[in-house]
């Protein structure tokens, strides 16, 4: 493990790890987009919101990309936002199930 100044080549260029991480962010954004697209059919507004989230995830992955080193606290906020977004999507999914007019346990008649 290395640390310290930027004189270490691994600190300046962590190899393909950065690229793999960018691809992971992209896959996560695509996952949000797929879920949003699937929900467009039943609940267009919520599906559109989740599609918007996918753009947000993609932007977060790019905005928080470190130039040379990783800024821990900034990435922490970005990752917290992703977790909150997924939890929100779960809550929306539950609401969608129970608010559906043909639901067995509808919350809204």
């Amino acid at each position: 493990m290395t640390s310290g100044g930027l004189d270490d080549p691994e600190d300046l260029d962590p190899g393909l790890a950065r690229e793999r991480t960018e691809l992971a962010w992209f896959r996560t954004a695509v996952s949000f987009a797929a879920l949003g697209g699937a929900m467009l059919q039943t609940t267009p507004v919520i599906g559109g919101l989740i599609l918007g989230m996918s753009a947000l995830v993609h932007l977060l992955g790019r905005v928080t990309r470190p130039a040379g080193r990783v800024a821990g606290h900034e990435r922490r906020h970005a990752l917290l936002l992703i977790s909150a977004a997924v939890a929100l999507v779960a809550a929306v999914a539950l609401a969608t199930i129970f608010l559906a007019s043909d639901s067995l346990f509808p919350l809204r008649r």
Binding site: M1, S3, T28, G72, A90, A91, A93, I97
Partner: protein, 133 residues
């Protein structure tokens, strides 16, 4: 991990009773972040599976609540997995900063148990619906 230049962000250098922390190798930080993102994609997949069960599957004959019984735990566990993934990322990052061994994650075991439980429940529902029919 070198201790020559501790991070100021989550510092702790020289604080009494607190271990020294330093910025870990970027490759390890990236790997930790990829793991976090992978857990969140898994969480999204569980949520999608739950939604698909309710919206795409035909109802179990004689068991109209069957689809909800399968879907709700999947969706709730998706949320739990996402929050757990974030907590896991934080624990791993702290261990990396301190040069300690990475803590064992309960998430893989939880995921295995949850999927096995839902699969078992699905099998029971199929058998029950056939019996009722």
């Amino acid at each position: 991990m070198s201790e020559s230049e501790p991070s100021g962000a989550e510092g702790g250098e020289g604080a009494p009773g607190r271990p020294r922390e330093s910025e870990p190798d970027a490759r390890f930080t990236f790997a930790n972040e990829r793991t976090f993102l992978a857990w969140n994609r898994t969480a999204l997949a569980l949520i999608v599976a739950g939604l698909a069960i309710v919206q795409l599957l035909p109802p179990f004959p004689g068991l109209p609540w069957g689809r909800h019984l399968l879907a709700v735990p999947l969706i709730v566990f998706g949320a739990v997995l996402s929050i757990g993934g974030f907590a896991e990322w934080g624990r791993n990052q702290r261990a990396l900063r301190r040069g300690e061994p990475l803590p064992r994650s309960p998430l893989p075991r939880m995921l295995s148990v949850a999927i096995a439980a839902v699969a078992l429940l699905a099998a029971v529902l199929v058998l029950l619906s056939e019996a009722v029919e």
